[in-house]
Symmetry: C2
Subunit: 222 residues, 2 copies
Amino acid sequence: MSKEPEDTIASRISRVLADRIVRGELAPGARLRQDHIAEEFQTSHVPVREAFRRLEAQGLAISEPRRGVRVASFDLAEVREVAEMRAVLEVLALRHAARHLTPAILDAAEEATREGDAAADVHAWEEANRRFHRLILAPCGMRRLLASIDDLHAASARFLFSAWQSGWEKRTDHDHRAILAALRQGKTDEAAATLQKHVQWIGRGPQPAKNGAPREIFAIVG
Amino acid sequence: MSKEPEDTIASRISRVLADRIVRGELAPGARLRQDHIAEEFQTSHVPVREAFRRLEAQGLAISEPRRGVRVASFDLAEVREVAEMRAVLEVLALRHAARHLTPAILDAAEEATREGDAAADVHAWEEANRRFHRLILAPCGMRRLLASIDDLHAASARFLFSAWQSGWEKRTDHDHRAILAALRQGKTDEAAATLQKHVQWIGRGPQPAKNGAPREIFAIVG
DNA sequence: GGAGTCAAAATTATCTATAATTTTAAAAGG
DNA sequence: CCTTTTAAAATTATAGATAATTTTGACTCC
């Protein structure tokens, strides 16, 4: 009945592995062993290797010839990099999307914001946040741009899940509403400026470590 | 002695195919048949399939499950999209690179511009142009950003090779020198503004078709 | 006890083989 | 003559097997 858009085993594996990496179930640096993964998915390792190539392109894994594939690690520099790339690309997308935004889309985006408010955990909150961004940007109709933004969102979510601090979401919800208000009034420049700051804001705080030195943690929240 | 950075067969195949697509030796829409390519490279089709996944991620090929892989086609909308993405990402990179630029780097960039002036054909000119951009942007040290820009440069080169018009290069050389002059004086904002316009400029002209209707052609020249 | 060495085990990269699907082209029917 | 059907050929996707490399871990020697 419903036909999955991507129906190869390789794409299914890459989706599942990407999700695990983003959620932190697979730790940075962890080895991805093709035979083990093949066994888990009840396939041979050929589609597994193809999935690895996609993860590599998304920046979620790194592959060293003959030495296998590992989950990509990240640091503050990369968090900053992803935040800044998202800022400029999302602003670009919004400027093109603006003329195609309908009240219905903006209502849906507001609904996503409300769902974020009510979210029970970080994952639900992140899902709502991503939907908000997708809703207001997708009408730009630029496929390559939207694909890049999606990959950057995955990276952002990774950082977020690894370092969530309650309280951060308040700022986000406020920004979302400001962006929507500006868009409703046709103030595209204002909306773009708010979006730019919003995405670039990086949450920081001390790691609530039980033992050892409390190192600093950080994440893109918008 | 010299060790190739990528030593798997798959990566070699993807490099060669990417080059052929960019140069236009493989036309948009052309089918990439794994067995034929495997035979040409004296391998099986397993590494060929891995190479396909990379080309797909770079936006040079599109894959339809069970129906094979084709060279991606493009239109004016995508040329614009790539130009605008390059504009915002290269400006971002330049702003970070600026503080790390040395006179030696700027001299090398000027040399690249001179080589572009003297280039005998489009391919040599494109190579010099890309080197110019890489030289002034690489010092930003942002790996993900630079990788994205590289992919966009490949797409740009594709458009360029498919629609070269003599005369376009004059504008580029002028822009390059203006950017370098601004950077030498520490005027980063001015350099960034020039770069932004430079990359976004799209060359257009009538196709010099021998027969049939002269349709319009276009390319990113910067 | 620790550094270095070497062999066994695990793992990667690739090839060959096979099943399933799509493309093609030819034949039949209107 | 054009459409539809149908069978053959080509092609894709995956499985299973093999060679080469890397990792692991025990053992020796200092």
